[in-house]
Every structure is written in C-alpha cells, then in structure tokens.
C-alpha cells in the first residue's frame, strides 16, 4: 500500500516535470523545426518564385525535375565521395595520430593543438585561404610547381580536379576534430586494462589492436556519424572555393540547393531539393542510430 502510494507520487511528480518542462521545448521545436519542414514540403508542390503566395500547383513536377537535373546526380556523387574519403582516409589518419599523441611526451600537447587548429578556423576563411593556395598563378601550389620547373595546374578550374581539391581541404580541416574525439576517449580508457595486457605479454601493436581500438568502438561510431552528417551539410567550404563549378562538378547537395533553388528564385524547386535532402538525412540518422549506436 505504502509502496504504491510513493510510486504514484513519484509518477505525479514526473508528470508535473513533463507539464512544466515540455511545452517550451515542444513549442520551439514545432516553431523552428517542424513548421519549416512542413512548409518546405508544401512549397515543394508549387512552381513559385517567392513573391506573393504560391498558387501554381504542379504536384510532383519539381521532384521529377530535380531527379532529371544532371547537377543533382553530381551533388549526390560528391557527397558520397566526401563520406568515402572521410571513412577511408580521414578517420584512419585521425586514429593513427590520436594513438601517437594520446601518449605523454614533450610536445604532445603542442602537436595536438596544431592539428586541431584547422577545425577552429571558420569555413569561409578556410575556403578563401585555400583558393589562394590553389591559385595556379600566384598560389603556394604554383610556387612549389615552379620550384621544380613545372607549370602549375589550376585545380579549381577543371571539372576533373575541382572535387579533389575540395576533398583535400575537407580532410585537412576536419581530421583534427576526429583526432581530438579519439584522444579524449583514449585518455578516458582504464589504464589497468592496458597494463594487464602488457603483463600478459602483448606487444605494443597487439595492445592497440586488441585493447585500445575495441574500447574505442563507440567513439568511432560517433565519429562516423559526424563525418556523414558533416558531408551532407558541406556548403560554406565549397562556396568560396568553386561555387560548385566548373560545370557543377563540385556541387554538393546544399550548394546545389542554393545555386539552383535560392539564387534562381525557384522556391518550389529548392524546397523539393530540401525535402529530398531531409529524407536522406533523417533516414540515415534513424537507421544508423538504430543499427550501430543502440547501446549508447
């Protein structure tokens, strides 16, 4: 009897907390997340330039046109490329550096800071700096080529190399962030486990391979999550470098939305792209959470 009363009281207390704390959050979430998403889905059915209210209902025409646009395919391909490069180059690089720099030695902290610095830099500033680095006439790259007596390529001006140039910047900018995640996780690891493995006669490599890295799995999963979401959001780095060009070769989903939707004042078409992007993001986030991050 007594027990059930306290349980009920506890339940009532929880209800009060819900009634008190939920509405503000729910209101903000509805106002700034749900409403815009619903609105975008609604605009996506209209041919509309943003003036007045949308009147010209075109059904799924906008979606059909998005799928028929070559730039959409290129943007999707480029987003995938960013993900592949993140997983295949950026994360291993970050992990290797983290394993070295998590140890205590002279200069470790300074090196950590150095590698983390690119991440602190604003995206637009990074883009501008690298557009100077890549400049085929005056840039750093050009002087290196000239030192060897060769003529520098204009990386950003060719459909073949523009995305490569962006990928290099992406890796350079974000590996430090993933490295920091790994270092933090490594330093939180129980030293006893590592010492125990040493006592058991494990080599340094074996300790890393069979103790440290398995303990890092949750962080690696988180890191992959950030890398994928970051790739889908990639925009402010692309604009100062190439604006998605030449010939849409370095377009990402968001820069495609901006250049084909916003700047062309095609609000309906742009909203359709936004909805597609939203579906991709939401599907990924939900399945990834469900399949790979269920323990956290």
């Amino acid at each position: 009897m007594l027990a059930s009363t306290t349980a009920r009281q506890r339940g009532a207390g929880r209800m009060t907390a819900v009634i008190l704390f939920l509405p503000p959050a729910l209101l903000l979430f509805t106002l700034f997340v749900v409403m815009p998403v619903v609105e975008a889905a609604w605009y996506g059915g209209y041919n509309w330039n943003g003036f007045g209210s949308p009147k010209n209902w075109v059904g799924f025409d906008n979606y059909r046109m998005v799928f028929e646009t070559r730039a959409f395919g290129l943007a999707l391909r480029n987003n995938l490329l960013v993900i592949v490069v993140s997983l295949a180059i950026q994360l291993p690089l970050a992990l290797a550096l983290a394993l070295i720099l998590a140890e205590k030695f002279r200069g470790a902290v300074a090196l950590r800071m150095l590698f983390f610095l690119p991440y602190v830099l604003a995206e637009v500033a990074t883009g501008l700096i690298f557009s100077f680095v890549y400049d085929g006439d005056y840039g750093l790259l050009a002087s290196i080529y000239r030192f060897f007596g060769a003529e520098a390529p204009h990386l950003l001006a060719s459909t073949q190399t523009s995305m490569l140039a962006i990928l290099i910047v992406v890796v350079w900018k974000y590996f430090g962030f993933h490295m920091m995640l790994f270092i933090a996780a490594l330093q939180g690891q129980d030293r006893n486990l590592i010492e125990a493995s040493r006592i058991d006669g494990a080599s340094r490599w074996q300790t890393i391979r069979f103790v440290s890295i398995p303990l890092l799995y949750p962080t690696i999963r988180l890191s992959i999550f950030f890398a994928v979401v970051g790739s889908l959001q990639l925009f402010d780095l692309v604009m100062p470098l190439t604006r998605g060009g030449p010939a849409d070769s370095s377009q990402t989903m968001v820069s495609f939305l901006y250049s084909h939707g916003v700047t062309r004042m095609r609000v309906g078409y742009g909203s359709a792209i936004g909805v597609i992007l939203f579906v991709i993001c939401a599907t990924f986030a939900i399945t990834y959470k469900r399949w790979f991050m269920r323990d956290e």
């Binding site: 003036f51 006439d137 030449p246 700047t263 062309r264």
Partner: protein
C-alpha cells in the same frame, strides 16, 4: 513613477528637437554599392536632401550583391520593407510588379520624365505605369592593352568584325600573349559573348520573337548561330589558363596587371582594373583601348546596338511621398552631373553627360546615346530562373562540356518552365 516622468520628459524633448509639431519621416534606402568614393557622394546627396526637406531622414541600408538578391523577396513582403530599392530592371522587376510590392510613381515624375533617356525609363515602365527611375547605364565591350596588342602587331581600333577578332586572337597566341581574360568562375562574364553575339546576329527583333516563343524561341537560328560563333572562339583556346576558376575581380586584376591583351567587360571595369591591379595603378589611360563588340557579316543587328546594364531605384508600396521625392532628387541633373564628374557612371539625364571629364567615359556615353537598341543583360532581363541558366550554359560551352545546341536547348527549356 520616477521612470515614467523621465520617459515623458524624453518624449517631450524628442518632439521639441524634431521641430515642434512636425512629424519625422524616415526614408529607408537599400543599396548595394561598395565603392567608398561613390558612397561618399551618395551620403552627401542624402544629407543635402535632408537639409532641403526638414523633418525627413534618409536612412541608408546596405546588403551585399548576392545576399541582396536572395533576401529581397522576403524583405519586400515584410511590413518593415525598405522604401527605395536597387534594381537592374528586367525579369526580377516584372515579378515584383506582379506581386504588387511596388508603387506606381508615374503621376509624380511627369515633370522630370522628358529629361530622362527614353530607353532607360522604358526599362522601369510597364503598361504605362512607372515603378522607379533609372540612374545609370553601362556598355559591354572589349578593353585592351595597347602594349600587348603591339607585340603581335594587332591594332585594336581595326577590330570591326568577328573574323577580325578571331584573327587577332590567333596573332596574339602566336606571339605568346594571352589574348583574353575572363572571370569564368562567376559565369556571367562568359554570357556576354553568347548574348552579345545574339544581339549582333538577330538584333532586337530576334530577341523579341524569342520572348514570344516564335521561330523556335531560344532554340531558333539566331541563338544557335551565336553558340556556333562562340564555339569558334572557344576552340582557339583564347582565355587565360584556369579561366573557369577565376572570379570576376581576379580576372579584372589579371588584366590590370598586364597579363592578358583583351577582356570583354562592362564599361565600369575601366576603373576597377586600376583598383584591382596588384600595383593599384593598372593600365594607364594612354595604354588602354576600347572597341565595341565586333559585328557579324549579314547580321540583322545594327553596329550601334549595345548590350549593357540599366540600373535604377524602385519605390515600394506604402513608401512615403518623400521617398519618391528623394529618387527624383537623385536623378536630378545636378546630382547626375556630380556622379558623372567623378566618372562613376554614364548618366541617364539629358545634359548631365557634359560633366564627364574623361575621354573613355565620354566615348561610352556617346555610344549609349547613339544606340537604338540597348539590350539589358540577359541574366537580369530574363529573370533569375532563366538568366542563371544562360550563365551556366554559356560557361559550359566555354569549358567544352556543352555544345551550342545543348546551350540553346537548356535556355529554351528554362524559359518554357518559367513562363
């Protein structure tokens, strides 16, 4: 209580300082000018207007070019919309008129209308209603570096036809000089080639016909040929290395540094090439030449036809009458003469061009005065949904990833979708 008294006192003193019973009117003027020298004159214009109209305050608001274009639709539909906005006329103006966010000022500008260049005023007129006033015009043509041209024994003044231009490009290449520089990364500098060729080949009639969807629209003969001729030039590889990665200011600086012989630009680049050159001096006037876009044998356009910009101020719905007064003041002969004297613009008011004090700008002013058909930039005239496609497609033609047929088709498809 104390606070209440204080705020009452503050309100009273404010009313007193505003000149007794007279209400204060604020005119919000949204612009996108970045040249500090020109802005200084604009500020002075605003201050002298305020002095002549007590109780009126001109509030200057600024947005950067690209964000201006992106934000304007939302801004115009809010209750806090600016009263005077910048405009390139054309398709965006048409959309704004249809949305009913602008004000017809025809009644209040009757007195100064005869003073304004008819072609420029027509750009802001629709169905007898006038939505704003033009204040500047510009022309697209070739700037050239006399020293570099001399290296290849090319005389810029002798380039009259498209074949002359192609021959000049070949000669310059043979002499080891980069013939042309262009800001291909921004795309619109490349659309000048295709569109000016169309102006020369088909003249006003072909453009009007395309707008009506007649004779194949933008897939018609004129535009196909414009693409073919542009391809002739592109095949000679006339542009600087990496031109598709160059932003427009970069390309202008490249010309100012004396690295390319010619560049197809808006006449205002005459100033910009100085400011954007590495040495901030650029190509001095005696080394700098200008020739109009070459003609096409058998072309229906006249040699005097021009491609260029028409810039003006629009008055938005609900703006106070002082806003109209200010726009009228801005295009008065006095203010136009001051801006012309600084060589910032080619004025649109009759007689103001007398104030232009340099040969280069005077030549442009004469060209525009002679022109019977001044074609506004396509990317403005056709509106953003079609205009940006023109820019994209012509940049792809220059980059070799689209054929002339595909360019025409892309533009026509965009036109059909939007209309």
């Amino acid at each position: 209580m104390n606070a209440l008294i204080r705020s009452l006192l503050a309100a009273a003193s404010l009313a007193l300082s505003a000149g007794g019973a007279m209400a204060q009117t604020t005119v919000k003027w949204l612009h996108l000018e970045v040249n500090p020298n020109q802005l200084k004159i604009w500020e002075e214009v605003a201050r002298s207007f305020e002095a002549a109209h007590p109780g009126t305050k001109i509030e200057m608001q600024f947005l950067e070019n690209e964000s201006y274009k992106a934000k304007l639709p939302t801004l115009l539909q809010s209750n806090d919309r600016p009263h005077i906005i910048y405009s390139w006329a054309g398709g965006v103006l048409k959309a704004q008129i249809e949305a009913g966010v602008l004000q017809d000022v025809a009644g209040s500008i009757k007195d100064i209308a005869p003073e304004i260049s008819p072609a420029a005023l027509a750009a802001f007129t629709q169905d007898g209603k006038v939505y704003g006033l033009p204040f500047a015009q510009s022309q697209v043509g070739f700037l050239y570096n006399k020293d570099l041209m001399a290296k290849a024994n090319v005389d810029g003044t002798k380039i009259k036809t498209w074949d002359d231009l192609l021959a000049a490009v070949k000669a310059l290449k043979a002499a080891g000089v980069t013939p042309l520089t262009v800001g291909g990364g921004d795309k619109w500098p490349l659309h000048f080639y295709w569109t000016h060729l169309a102006v020369r080949i088909g003249g006003k009639a072909a453009f009007q016909a395309a707008l009506r969807g007649e004779s194949g629209g933008f897939e018609g003969e004129t535009f196909q040929k414009a693409g073919d001729l542009m391809k002739q030039l592109v095949d000679l590889q006339p542009f600087q290395n990496g031109f598709l990665g160059f932003k427009n200011p970069q390309s202008t600086g490249y010309f100012g540094d004396g690295k390319a012989a010619m560049t197809l630009v808006i006449s205002t680049v005459y100033h910009q090439q100085k400011a954007l050159a590495a040495d901030k001096v650029g190509i001095p006037d005696d080394k700098l030449g200008w020739f109009d876009f070459p003609t096409i044998p058998g072309g229906k356009g006249e040699a005097a036809d021009t491609l260029g910009g028409i810039n003006g101020w629009l008055v938005t719905r609900g703006a106070p009458k002082e806003a109209v007064e200010f726009v009228k003041f801005f295009v008065s002969k006095d203010v136009q003469s001051r801006l012309a004297a600084g060589n910032f613009l080619v004025p649109v008011v009759k007689g103001a061009d007398a104030a232009i004090n340099n040969a280069f700008m005077r030549n442009i002013a004469q060209n525009l005065a002679r022109s019977n058909y001044h074609q506004n930039f396509y990317d403005q005239d056709l509106g953003p949904s079609v205009g940006r496609v023109v820019n994209d497609a012509t940049a792809e033609l220059a980059g070799g990833s689209m054929t002339p047929r595909q360019v025409s088709k892309a533009v026509q498809d965009a036109w059909k979708q939007g209309n």
